[in-house]
């Protein structure tokens, strides 16, 4: 008898939790769960009016998010400016002590460029990548354990395409994974799901740069064992996938616990403007 009453109470509590509308509640939990499931099932529609509606909704939410985050972005920006100011003297001394010999490097670079172009003509290689790029402002910086991405203020209205490479100055940042009407999402190279084909120079070894969720470095997969790779070697995009152009500098090789990693040239915490390849 007591067990039956206990079971009845349990059922009543569950029923009241799901079906009963609370005070000042317009919907029951059950109704909203059904609506959520329906909304979730719309994820299977990747084109048509559903996709257009989703794209507009995302644009609106990103813009709202941008305005709400603005004071915090301002504080973050000032914090990094302040940090930079504190390190200014050290950086100045470091640069002063280094002998860059820039003029000689410039001439050397010019020579290699012209030689490279001549050789490309000889083997009849055509450049399939556009050299045009579009400067975009970073609206949102979303760096959680599940996702390292940024939102920019350019979308398919501005000619942004899925999968294209994104750079800061001349360094690789990531690739476009989501294009809306007015905004786009960039998956940063340090995200857990980011896999970028790269080439390590001067050895010429091909590998896959695999993000590890760390802001400073990423791992390397499918690294050939026979090639001699040492600390300080430069890692560039290889362009093997046919989407991301080749020769965009990504970072340099570092060694940690006898494993090789790539230290990024870009500071993912301080991205303000990026250029998107068209």
């Amino acid at each position: 008898m007591a067990t039956e009453t206990g079971r009845d109470d349990f059922v009543i509590a569950i029923r009241s939790a799901f079906l009963k509308k609370g005070t000042r509640q317009k919907f029951s939990l059950f109704t909203l769960l059904i609506i959520s499931t329906l909304v979730l099932s719309l994820e299977y529609f990747k084109s048509g009016p559903v996709d257009t509606f989703r794209s507009i909704a995302k644009d609106l939410i990103f813009k709202g998010s941008f305005f709400i985050s603005e004071p915090f972005v301002y504080i973050k920006k000032n914090y990094y400016n302040f940090k930079d100011h504190l390190q200014m003297y050290e950086k100045y001394t470091e640069l002063k002590n280094k002998n860059y010999n820039l003029d000689s490097l410039k001439n050397e670079n010019k020579f290699y460029k012209s030689e490279n172009n001549r050789l490309k003509k000889l083997i009849d290689e055509k450049n399939i990548y556009s050299k045009e790029s579009l400067l975009s402002k970073v609206l949102l910086d979303q760096q959680s354990p599940y996702l390292k991405s940024i939102i920019i203020n350019k979308g398919f209205k501005h000619g942004i395409k899925l999968g294209t490479a994104v750079k800061e100055k001349s360094y690789f940042v990531g690739k476009i994974i989501n294009v809306n009407f007015l905004t786009s999402r960039i998956l940063l190279a340090n995200d857990l799901n980011s896999k970028i084909p790269v080439i390590i120079e001067p050895s010429g070894a091909n590998a896959i740069l695999s993000g590890q969720g760390n802001n400073n470095y990423a791992g390397l997969e499918y690294l050939p064992k026979l090639k001699k790779i040492k600390e300080g070697d430069i890692v560039y995009t290889s362009g093997i996938d046919g989407i991301i152009p080749q020769a965009i500098p990504v970072g340099k090789i570092i060694e940690k616990d006898e494993n090789l990693f790539v230290e990024f040239f870009v500071d993912f915490n301080q991205l303000k403007y990026v250029s998107v390849n068209k």
């Binding site: 939790a17 919907f27 939990l29 769960l33 939410i61 985050s69 760390n214």
Partner: protein, 174 residues
């Protein structure tokens, strides 16, 4: 006059605090991400806010608005749209169930039930993301983030309790 207006704004702010706070968290994606043993973890403040307010003062946090918060969170975090809404509504259901079954509320019970609730919700979240959407997500990171959210729940609960007291005081002062 100016002082009375300020008082009114303050009162309304305190009254709508859970709503404003939850929308702020969803729009900004604020989660205090930190690194531990070269892995990044974060707190899920939204879980704590929903659980506390649905348990203690459900009239302050409408289920419809919680659904909307879930949609915003999905867009900001790039999850399939609707998944966070399901998680949050499940959490509401568990909190509502506990409220109906508890005779003598106390922080320790709430804390333990919160752990059970977020473990159930995180498991549902992981199952849908991996089985239905093939979404790459680390189970360990998800569960550890839920666990550290559980650890800070008593502190958040104390803060929210103080806000409830201020809200009550403001209501009674009228």
């Amino acid at each position: 006059m100016a002082q009375s207006n300020l008082r009114k704004i303050y009162k309304n702010f305190i009254h709508a605090f859970p709503l404003l706070f939850i929308f702020f968290l969803a729009f900004t994606g604020f989660d205090l991400t930190f690194f531990l043993f070269e892995n990044s973890f974060s707190f899920n403040f939204i879980y704590a806010v929903i659980f506390y307010w649905v348990l203690k003062k459900p009239e302050r946090l409408g289920y419809g608005l919680i659904f909307l918060v879930g949609i915003i969170n999905d867009v900001v975090q790039n999850f399939p749209i609707g998944i966070s809404s399901i998680n949050y509504l499940f959490l509401c259901a568990i909190a509502s169930f506990i409220r109906a079954r508890t005779l003598m509320p106390n922080l320790l019970y709430d804390w333990i039930f919160f752990l059970i609730a977020i473990m159930i919700v995180s498991s549902v979240n992981y199952t849908i993301l991996t089985l239905v959407f093939d979404y790459p997500i680390k189970y360990g990171t998800l569960m550890f983030s839920s666990f550290i959210t559980f650890l800070i729940y008593p502190a958040l609960s104390k803060i929210f309790y103080q806000i409830t007291i201020i809200d009550l005081r403001e209501e009674n002062a009228q």
